[in-house]
Amino acid sequence: MTILSIRSISKFYGRIRALHEVSFDVPPASVFGVLGPNGSGKTTLLGIVMDVLKASGGSYSWFGEAPSEKQRQQIGTLLETPNFYHYLSGEQNLRITAAIKGKGEADIPRVLEMVKLTERKHSKFSTYSLGMKQRLALAACLLGDPQVLVFDEPTNGLDPVGIAETRELIKELSGAGKTVLLASHLLDEVEKVCTHVAILQRGVLLTAGPVNEVLRDEEFIEVGAGPSELVALQVLLKGLTDVKQVQVKEDHVQLYFHGVGMDPAAINRFCFENGVVLTHLQLRKKSLETKFMELTK
């Protein structure tokens, strides 16, 4: 059963198009990253599936059913910023969350302990630091041990230790078979914790699928020859089997392959046998950053 199914969702703010016909499915027990630069529509999309924003078009379903408030009670959600009553303590705020979700208050000490806020549970929310507010929001998500969690930029405002702990927590949740929907502009975060990813750019879905397919490290081979032989080299290399793309740079050629690629030694031999002496041969990896920049360019 698909946890969340999004079908052609569009959203306009006046003439500004925030989302354009975005569709994807979140499979069960996945950590699904929604990746995109700031302003790409991630929060808008999550706002729509949590019913705080109204889509201009399209539809979505949770657990294969039409959306309802009952479903949201079964989902732990942290959207954008931690939203709590400033004049109440952390614990009092969690009582409200528990009451709305229809969960008992017995779980409150456990979640406070999980985010290390037990000592400050009686302090007013307004006295919390940014990191503590974020951790209280995480605690509210974890109340009642929901099977599905939605996190929008969960490491915002956290210090490096907090960031590491949050990522560890997401991995633990995933390990326990829970589904996590995670919006982030940090490629590194998505790469480290997600099993699936959807990449958004200016409201358009660029690609979606398992992380190891979408964000796979791409290998290529850099080949160089004397300036007079560069053109001949390019023609020659195009004749190789499995070649996807040949890019000519200033003083070398970049070779991209379909599938697993080719052994550098075989390329060297092939060129030499065809009368081109290589001056440079190197197996290289395109970094994920470069890939992401290319995808969202």
Partner: protein, 269 residues
Amino acid sequence: MLHLLRVEWLKIKNYRTFWILLAMTILSIPGLSYLIYDLMNNSFPKQKGVQNVVGSPFAFPDVWQTVSWNSSMLFITPAILIITLTTNEFTFKTHRQNIIDGWSRRQFLSVKLVELVMLAVVCTIVVFVTVLVFGCIGNKVAPGQSIWQDSRFIFFYFVQLLSYSTIAFLMALLIRRSGLAIGAFLIYMLAENIIVGIGRHRFKLDGVDYLPEEVTDRLIPQPYLHRIFESSADQLRWEQHVPVYLAVALVYLVVYYLVTDRRITKSDL
């Protein structure tokens, strides 16, 4: 609904501003009437003619109208209370969080409206008790007269407060900032009074009687000196118009409800 109210109770239980405003609302009702009572009884030289001019506004049956009218001038503290509780949700973005956590948009709206009605009921009960206290210390009821005569003013007070409170709620919902919403509410009060004043006296327009606040104001006529300024024809005209005022007030309440419902259920939060 009880479940929703329990959540609201958790929100206000430890909110000091709420309790201060509620105390001010409740205490000001007998307080203002006592002030006027004291002024009338102890600050003017007691002469025999006074009784004939002002009557006995704090004795049965006039006390129903007097205390209701006095209290109706105190609409501002309940309005501030409602605006504060509503705009808090927008300031803290907890209106979104309540929905995210598992309330429907309509549940969020309905519990706020129930709170508003509950506040109006509490104020009405306080007015009722105040009437009984003043009425009982005021003077003896004439033989053959019931103390309940004219008790309908209590109901008119309830309708009026409900109407003012709903306008305040509407302002809070549309403007979302407490200071601005309170300002807009007060400006609207003032503006309507000016429009009514000019419309009625300069242009002789009867239609101004049916503006949102004026129509409920007219349910409780000014109780002092009415013996000298009001003819029995005026009295009869008012008596005939009461059902119309009530009906128009009800129509306004329905319109306010439809606007708030549309605002909450159809738009981005």
